[in-house]
């Protein structure tokens, strides 16, 4: 009985591995097809504009809320900590590094994974199960060029200004908290920010924007295209897209920081 159980587990593991490898292969080909269709961007510029509005302009409120929230909290907590060491004047330095290098881009990535990624997954999943994607193919339109490439181009364009906005809002809210909560003079706060920031701090933060754009768009769109099994299937594929892209955003955040900081 134990042997049968072990054999069943082995079979299940082999099947899981096979499916995983197949999915990775499909995802790779899907990504290649998306990048290959970039020359068609001129043809689908209207779709790019639509997607830029969805992932850019419409995402501003959620990006602002998360940036202001994290900037304020960071200023309060780090300020309390620095006060114990009599180093409150370093508050600008520590919060600006955290916001620009790490928390600004990371929170923006996670928020956009939830907002833009879920929209992609649900919309493309619904199109898949209602055969609209098959209809595009049946009538001679490449669905990847029409539906995925414009989303990726829009994300690549819009994630950069969103990162800048997230950094700006995070720093402003930190400065506000420094002045009103910790009674720190704004001049001291900003003097600790500007002269100390090095180019690599901006490179780390802004390099994450295109990396997150690629991860979120491709993972959520791939899961939408892979939706099967009715409305429940759309739900499953959307959740999978958000979970996987959020996980990959966290991993990519670590590696981008590590690689850039070690090499600059």
């Amino acid at each position: 009985m134990l042997l049968t159980f072990a054999r069943n587990q082995e079979k299940a593991l082999a099947l899981w591995l096979k499916n995983f490898v197949l999915t990775m292969q499909e995802f790779f080909l899907f990504s290649v097809r998306t990048f290959i269709s970039f020359p068609k961007v001129k043809r689908y510029w209207r779709d790019v504009l639509d997607q830029a509005t969805i992932c850019g302009t419409d995402s501003i409120p959620i990006v602002l809320v998360s940036a202001i929230s994290i900037g304020s909290l960071l200023a309060i907590e780090v300020g309390n900590l620095l006060e114990d060491f009599g180093a409150k004047t370093m508050l600008g330095r520590s919060t600006s590094l955290s916001v620009i290098r790490e928390l600004g881009p990371l929170l923006m990535g996670l928020m956009l994974s939830a907002r833009f990624g879920s929209r992609n997954g649900a919309e493309l999943g619904a199109m898949q199960i209602s055969e609209q994607i098959d209809a595009l193919r049946a009538f001679g339109t490449d669905p990847v060029a029409k539906l995925v490439m414009p989303r990726l181009v829009a994300a690549l364009i819009m994630f950069l200004p969103l990162t800048a906005l997230s950094d700006y809002a995070g720093l402003q809210s930190a400065a506000y908290m420094a002045e009103h909560y910790h009674r720190l003079d704004p001049g001291i706060f900003w003097n600790a920010v500007y002269p100390r920031l090095a180019p690599k701090d901006f490179v780390v933060g802004f390099l994450k924007a295109p990396v997150f754009a690629i991860i979120i768009t491709l993972v959520s769109s791939f899961n939408g295209f892979s939706a099967r099994g009715g409305t429940a299937g759309v739900g499953r594929s959307t959740i999978k897209g958000i979970v996987v892209s959020s996980g990959l955003v966290l991993i990519a955040n670590f590696y981008v920081s590590k690689i850039v900081l070690e090499n600059m």
């Binding site: 209602s130 055969e131 609209q132 098959d134 209809a135 193919r137 049946a138 009538f139 001679g140 339109t141 490449d142 029409k146």
Partner: protein, 244 residues
């Protein structure tokens, strides 16, 4: 002409089609009859090259499309118009935009010509006054007529219908069937109709192939279906609508 030669297809361990061979000639209406979930719609997708068989060949107008790359298939697919079971209309586009979508996307036609063809299909489908409505505001029969119009608009040689009357009320079904008949008589179009409703076959089809357990068990002119001795065909002739 579309030909399937010894086509086999499996999804995982599940066998969908076993050694299926059938021919659809130009200017004829061929029905593919069988119970739900037996692989009838899969045959239409094979004809369009939307899925590839595990074995056998799919030949369209003498060209083997079995292993053709996606980009090369687009020119083949434009010879066929497809009407999907759920219509597959783009729900964010109006009726006019749905009808003209593929002309704008894939054919370098002047705007006036696109508008003329869209108007022609709106009149053909009897949808005057609904041009600017979204698909969700139309009835099932109207949506089906839009889907047919969309398939016809780029003037294909053959139309593929996936369950054209499924989910429609009897009046709408009758309208759709007479529309299909008129396509052959007025436009000289061939058609493949996938259905599980035997009355539809007798109403419009010149010939019929019966798909049962992944195999073609009958393939001849519709009138000869009454002479078939296969127990499954005898049972469906008495029940009229296939249900499993």
């Amino acid at each position: 002409m579309i030909e399937l030669r010894n086509v086999g297809l499996k999804y995982g361990d599940k066998v969908i089609l076993k050694n299926v061979s059938l021919t659809v000639r130009d200017n004829t209406i061929k029905a593919i009859l069988g119970p739900s979930g037996v692989g009838k719609s899969t045959i239409l997708k094979l004809m369009l090259g939307l899925i590839k068989p595990n074995s056998g060949q799919v030949i369209v107008d003498g060209t083997d499309i079995t292993n053709m790359k996606e980009a090369s298939l687009y020119s083949i697919r434009r010879k066929m118009g497809m009407v999907f079971q759920g219509n597959a209309l783009f729900d964010s586009l109006t009726i006019s935009q749905n009808l003209g979508f593929f002309l704008r996307e894939n054919m370098k036609l002047p705007v006036e010509e696109i508008n003329r063809r869209v108007l022609e299909q709106i009149q053909f489908a009897g949808l005057e006054g609904y041009e600017d409505q979204l698909p969700e505001s139309l009835s099932g029969g109207m949506r089906r007529r839009v889907a047919i119009g969309r398939a016809l608009i780029f003037k294909p040689h053959m139309i593929l219908f996936d369950e054209p009357t499924a989910g429609l009320d009897p009046v709408s079904s009758k309208k759709i069937l007479s529309l299909i008949s008129s396509l052959r008589h007025n436009n000289n179009l061939g058609a493949v109709i996938v259905t599980h409703i035997i009355d539809d076959v007798f109403n419009v089809a010149d010939c019929v192939a019966v798909l049962y357990q992944g195999e073609i068990i009958f393939d001849d002119v519709t009138e000869k279906l009454h002479e078939a001795q296969h127990p499954f065909i005898r049972s469906i002739l008495s029940d009229k609508i296939l249900e499993l």
